[in-house]
């Protein structure tokens, strides 16, 4: 393809090709300080392309392709090329990765152990992870967390955090502006701005962390904690995994071990401060 770059996020190495320079340039800025690995071939391919040659210039719209494609996925305007790249990378991992059990969950680590937060979009799992990442925790990932079936450890997938809507202002007030990507307004998911994880989190991205706490956050209601049983946690996590069925017994073993060894809670919280307080409270109990 005309423009391309390669990026390693956690265990996955991507090559991203594009018909336009802009999305590649934006990725190279966001991922400039990620460890390079020039002799390693990519595991996954993402393609950003124009459906017809003239659409590279005329109302340019970015189609997302790669090793795996979603038929009928709508293209995005070129101004949202970075979002298209992010969606393409997520898609390849979600559909193609087989080494680990992939959970749609954010994660953060402290002292070699991790808290996993699984929830639908809007649950605040991404914002909570980003906030933890600025308050003494190592951010492991805001979207996917991988479980190694052999060891049961959680592995980080610390892509640039995708901040949405209110979370943008909340984080912008706390971090150096140099760590923020361009503001993408009016995307199908609202306003989006990417946050580069702290250098320590990127440097430690290959370090596994044993899961110690499993949370299912829900943003909006009064602060509350609800204990979740092993069976229910198991069901919720199979639903939060994109490759559970493809892994066979390895996935089953990883998930039964996870829900048996790690306490699980549903938490609801009215604002980020309350959410963080709940995480810290439950963490203190879990690791004591």
């Amino acid at each position: 393809m005309r423009h391309s770059t390669r990026i390693t996020v956690g265990p996955v190495r991507f090559r991203i090709g594009s018909d336009w320079r802009a999305p590649i340039a934006a990725l190279e800025t966001l991922y400039a300080d990620y460890p390079g690995d020039p002799v390693r071939p990519a595991d996954a391919t993402v393609r950003l392309f124009a459906a017809r040659p003239w659409r590279r210039w005329l109302r340019p719209s970015v189609h997302i392709g790669g090793d795996f494609i979603v038929p009928d996925a709508l293209p995005l305007p070129l101004s949202m090329g970075l979002l298209a790249a992010e969606m393409g990378m997520n898609l390849q991992v979600a559909l193609g990765w087989r080494r680990h059990l992939l959970l749609h969950a954010s994660a953060a680590a402290r002292d070699g152990r991790s808290v996993l937060m699984s929830g639908i979009s809007g649950s605040g799992k991404s914002t909570l992870a980003a906030l933890l990442g600025e308050s003494g925790w190592r951010l492991m990932g805001d979207e996917f967390t991988m479980i190694d079936p052999g060891s049961g450890d959680a592995l980080a997938f610390p892509r640039a955090v995708s901040l949405k809507n209110e979370a943008i202002g909340e984080m912008a007030a706390r971090v150096d502006a140099a760590r923020l990507g361009p503001l993408l307004s009016g995307t199908p998911k609202g306003d989006i701005q990417h946050l580069i994880p702290r250098p320590e989190a990127v440097a430690a991205m290959h370090e596994p962390a044993r899961p110690a706490l499993l949370l299912f956050p829900r943003f909006g209601d009064a602060a509350a904690i609800e204990r979740i049983g092993e069976g229910e946690a198991f069901v919720r996590l199979t639903e939060a995994s994109t490759n559970y069925t493809a892994l066979g017994e390895a996935g089953f073993g990883a998930l039964t071990r996870l829900v048996r060894t790690v306490p699980a809670f549903g938490i609801s919280y009215p604002d980020s401060a309350a959410g963080l307080a709940l995480v810290e409270e439950l963490w203190a109990e879990a690791v004591s």
Binding site: M1, P41, D43, G65
Partner: protein
Amino acid sequence: MRAVQHLIDLLAGRCETATLSARDWEGVIGVARGEAMLAALAHRLEDAPLPAPVAALFFDARAAGAVATKQALWEAEMARRALASERIEFILLKGTAYAAAGLSCAAGRQIGDLDILVPVHDIGRAENELLEAGWEWVKSDPYDDAYYRDHMHELPPLIHKTRDRMIDVHHTILPQTHRTTPDPLALVTDAVMTESGFAVLAHADMACHSAAHLLADGDMQGGLRNLWDFHCLTRDFVAADPDFWGRLDARADKHGLRAVVHRAARLARDVFGAALPGDWDRRDPRDRWFMRRLLARDDWGRAGDFALRQAFYIRSHWLRMPPQLLARHLWTKWRRRGAR
């Protein structure tokens, strides 16, 4: 187009893995994924020296392939249970058959739907039993339904409501409108039992069907994988039976598939280096169009050459249907698209 060339060279054993650069490998991986052959390649290179990241990715692909094969064989087992109470006999076709028979091309072969062959007089009963056991119609469009039943070689596809897997119930191996008509009775009579307890086509019929599936049954999408099937099948069958090519010739004649089977053999020679006996080892200038279609994937894994693909789509319809019927079918498809 280095990547697709590397892929076929690696499969054919013409290329040392140590000669590939990191960039070459990612091209190969992308193209192999595009052709649904990553796990097949991973098996082919299981004992070859590989860069560590490639070895790890291939290990994953083999493990995932083993899970997928189990899932495909389980569909066959569930179909067996569904049809057993009425004692309806069926023959496994394509990928599931290769896996059930333990053939070498099954290693890492992606298997989509379950394809079974049921004698035409049992089709109605088979349909009832499958519906009873939890399979449902995928589409309820009356035109499509009538089209499948009247002109294709299968029932309209059924999908299992809890397992979400499709079954295609065939009563012959090419559409009835196709200009050649294989002899379904001979297929059924000569079917053989595998050790796993499933009936599969006899070797020569299996090779005929593989060739027909590659060349006469569609627009050659996934063609490289189908050609790999044909190549592995014929190579293994010849190794076990030196007279196999002669037997295949006779059988292809009986099914009216001689030209198709010979072309598949020539393509297996040109792409994977298959050794052919003298009377098969000919040249046909038209083969290069098929070669181009088979190898039309760029180093980023994109299926290229749009015009060529369209030509093959029209060709595949042409092969399947008499022209009058073709016009009506394309017209109806077009009108329905317009209506949406």
